[in-house]
Symmetry: C2
Subunit: 213 residues, 2 copies
């Protein structure tokens, strides 16, 4: 559910930017709901959830709305992240175009292996003992964690102690959030399992419908 | 919601395998709910959704249950997938330990770039014109799509036509499922945005609580 609202906030923002570039100053929940193919009450509910209040007669000022969405989505300033664990996946994520498209900048990578430090990656790869100072000096809040599985928990704890408030965890073992550190677990194996499940259940439904008719 | 049930099915299976290794032959919804910290009615609801029926007095045969879960999760046979697009991300996913842990095997990679074909990847990298025959001969149902963004839609359509029923799409542009092909969009940028959103909203809540008290 949390996931869905953030997705919509991001979609609202993209449409609002287009509308703004067309010269629109005010926008109504019906405009946004039409553009996204959702109900206007859902738009209003999302905005209420985010403490976004409209003007009288239900309109919103486009500029204010974009500003508020940027704050919520962390885009009022450049989003800097770090990548901890610079194996194949970590290096691939440094080059991930999807981040740049969304104004997310990888500030640095970190690794325990000296052989990976100073390799020709697109961003500097630093030794892990520089983590605390880097996070403090650069004001980093979010880290992508791509270390081997057996190092996940130790490194997670270290990142928390260094002041990281958000971690995207790519290890197969899901990790829980704490009050001061949100963890999103990206389990690619689970995503693949989900596809196989959908394929099997679609086939079963098709078969039982075939029998019924 | 779909996501949650699949996650639970996978968790049921893991616990059942442990119980089976301890010699248990039958299991009750209360056993599973205790182990997972959920309500037993949710366990029964999940099983009803999956057409899993219990014995009289509410028990289930462990072996039958595992077999059924394996079918649903696609684990009654080895899960083979292919990776289409063998850039940095595609190559990193070929080496992803999380897949092997979950009995998911990358059968081959495909790329249009002849320079990437026959590189020293852990699985063969084949030219795209071999896709159709490979999918047909190996009975592949699921593909990971890691091609550049501008090639996503064309390749997606090609994979559908080749008989692929499930696609994990890593491009920033989300793609919709069709009745014969399920698409899961993995947007890493969205996951990062989500973390920033959670950090901002947690801080705002903490502030407003501070003011209120």
């Amino acid at each position: 559910m949390e996931h869905d609202i953030i997705k919509r906030l991001s979609q609202y923002k993209k449409i609002l930017q287009k509308l703004q570039s067309l010269g629109l100053v005010r926008v109504f929940s019906d405009n946004l709901s039409d553009a996204l193919g959702i109900s206007s009450s859902l738009v209003r509910k999302d905005f209420a959830t985010c403490n976004i209040t409209g003007k009288r007669r239900g309109g919103y000022v486009v500029e204010e709305l974009i500003e508020r969405l940027n704050t919520l989505l962390g885009k009022d300033q450049e989003q800097q992240i770090i990548i901890v664990g610079c194996g194949k996946l970590g290096l691939a994520l440094m080059n991930h175009k999807g981040f740049a498209n969304d104004q997310i900048r990888v500030a640095a990578g970190f690794d325990v292996d000296p052989a990976r430090i100073n390799s020709d990656a697109p961003v500097p790869i630093l030794p892990v003992d520089k983590l605390a100072a880097f996070i403090r000096n650069q004001g980093i809040q979010v880290a992508l964690l791509t270390v081997p599985e057996d190092a996940t928990l130790t490194m997670l704890e270290h990142l928390r102690q260094c002041g990281i408030h958000g971690i995207l965890n790519f290890a197969a073992v899901p990790v829980k959030s704490t009050p001061d550190c949100h963890v999103q677990n990206v389990s690619l194996a689970l995503e693949v399992e989900k596809l196989f499940y959908l394929i099997v259940s679609t086939a079963e439904n098709a078969n039982s419908e075939g029998i019924a008719s």
